[in-house]
Symmetry: C2
Subunit: 328 residues, 2 copies
DNA sequence: TTGTATGCGTTATCAG
DNA sequence: CTGATAACGCATACAA
């Protein structure tokens, strides 16, 4: 591999001049510039990025954390972030935490070892105090997930409102027995707020809150199936169910349909995200403006890196929209 | 940030010894090792990966190319690759080509500039001769897509067979007018072979091949909807359609259902991949062993990097399975 | 406008 | 078993 030295030698110039040409610095004669370019061409030279990283203390790489990329909500987010980063000349490293506290912490080392310029977290598994120390090593931006204690740029949606809108919709359809199902993460403000929105809507309508109708640990289609069976087995069954993701809702819908339940008559279902499959099965759902939050978060990150901005709290809040379909 | 020098000073030892401890080299007294570890701990030291990359000429990073991460087929592949890479201590850089020749070429620079140790391609947009020169800069492995001219490790499925199985299944259900729809990429051996499998099955059954029933440029749910309308508008309609992806099949299914067509009576549909939504809508499909090819490809890549194996042709072929559901 | 010298933080070589 | 020194490839302060 040709180095900058080789180019310099061939062009009969100094490394410095070559470096100036590479980095588009001023004060280089057109004549010499031509010489350098020709030599680079001839040697098929390309700057070594490891050397450049070391020298500039910059990696032009950003890590994005997601629980798992196969969740359409997150893959959509990553698609947008990846394209946006690429446009701005940044690489994107994908970190899948698999809902594991350990894995999340392990990946945080990337920032510490200077493998990336910054981190975007779309979910948080650990308590904020576990994550906070890493701010000493570089910027962190929250996207989707949020946390009061985290004084960092945050692009998010008000999940109290999201859950409220959904639950409210079910109430307006005449339901009084509404189950709630979600993932389960004590460190997640997002999860906490959704639950709050649900309870708020119930309370406002003077409806009963029933512990038995709170179903947790639901992340996937498979979990949704399990939850349907749990509901079907109840003595006192709910007539509608609010879910924290379209995947779980799809699972419930599928198993219900397989058991010849009629949706929404036997059970109304509302999802969350408006993933592609929601349209397929006619699932009512709460749409989140994924493209927008992804873009804003990545923009925020790049701006922070490039202007070496100090990390401080800056909240950008966007809005939900209810997509009404056949499942309610 | 503490450097190896700082640690050495604090421990009253040389950088060399510290480095030995970090890299678990033999020939270090337990006594000194303890001293070094203590100093590292005290300074909260962590090796700088840029420096290490430069010195070792290794990045421990692998780039994975996909057309777009939101396609469940590819996100599934990336999920598995990411986890496998992580286990082995490698990072994964995500490159979305968006079906663009230009973007694919641009990303190839990653290998040239030594930002990654190797490349895994799950699709190819350019002709192989455009890509081949980059082999001078590092290993490339093919996963899913394949190419006769590419003398590199390849993990793939025999797509002639896949399409044949699917088309054959439709024929066995009594269909004689079978449409074919796919993406469109002249550089793709995969696409070519699928089409071949389709024609082979028709020919074997002595069925008519009708140009008008060949629909191209189909990648997404949206494209599927368009294709349904195209089929509905035909004078001489096919009674079944073979598609190259579950997404396209879902689009057709959705639009057909919206137009009150009965599936499979008015139109039988067969998909490809067995994506999660296939189960939801009861789509018959050809399952590809995604986890397996992803794991094998990543394994192959890491083995090549770590043993500095020369790049040569090595084909690993896996098999399909027909998943029969209600859509046929 | 150009060149010289230095350092970014490691690890490998070699001598002791 | 340990340490001094060079080298990885580049960009920048400073001198000319």
């Amino acid at each position: 591999m040709a180095t900058i030295q080789d180019v310099a030698k061939l062009a009969r110039l100094s490394r410095t001049t070559v470096s100036r040409v590479i980095n588009h610095h001023p004060y280089v004669t057109d004549e010499k510039k031509r010489l350098v370019l020709k030599a680079m061409e001839e040697l098929n030279y390309v700057p070594n990025s490891s050397a450049r990283r070391l020298r500039k203390q910059q990696t032009e790489t950003i890590a994005v954390y997601v629980p798992r990329i196969t969740n359409p909500f997150f893959s959509q987010m990553v698609e947008v972030m990846g394209n946006h980063a690429s446009e701005k000349g940044y690489q994107l490293i994908l970190c899948q935490t698999s809902y594991s506290r350990n894995k999340e912490i392990n990946y945080l080392e990337l920032l510490k070892t200077k493998q990336v310029d910054g981190l975007i977290l779309t979910s948080i598994e650990n308590e904020w105090r576990e994550i906070k120390p890493y701010l000493n090593y570089g910027p962190i931006v929250l996207c989707n997930e949020y946390n009061d204690d985290a004084d960092i740029p945050t692009v998010y949606l008000n999940q109290v409102e999201g859950a409220y809108i959904g639950t409210r919709h079910l109430i307006e359809q005449g339901h009084t027995k509404i189950a709630y199902c979600s993932g389960d993460n004590s460190a997640s403000r997002l999860a906490f707020d959704r639950f709050k929105g649900y309870k708020q809507a119930l309370k406002e309508a003077g409806l009963e809150f029933n512990d038995k109708w709170i179903l947790t640990n639901a992340f996937s289609i498979k979990d949704g199936k399990r939850i349907f069976r749990a509901i079907a087995d109840m003595e006192d069954r709910p007539t509608a169910v609010f879910t924290g993701s379209d995947e779980v809702a799809s699972g419930i819908w599928l198993e219900a349909t397989n058991h010849y339940w009629s949706i929404p008559d036997d059970l109304a279902i509302i999802g969350f995200d408006d993933q592609p499959q929601a349209e397929l099965i006619g699932l009512t759902t709460i749409e989140q403006p994924i493209d927008e939050i992804a873009k804003r978060a990545m923009g925020q990150m790049i701006e922070t890196i490039e202007n070496k901005l100090p990390i401080k709290k800056k909240e950008i809040q966007l809005n939900f929209q209810l997509i009404k379909r056949r499942s309610t």
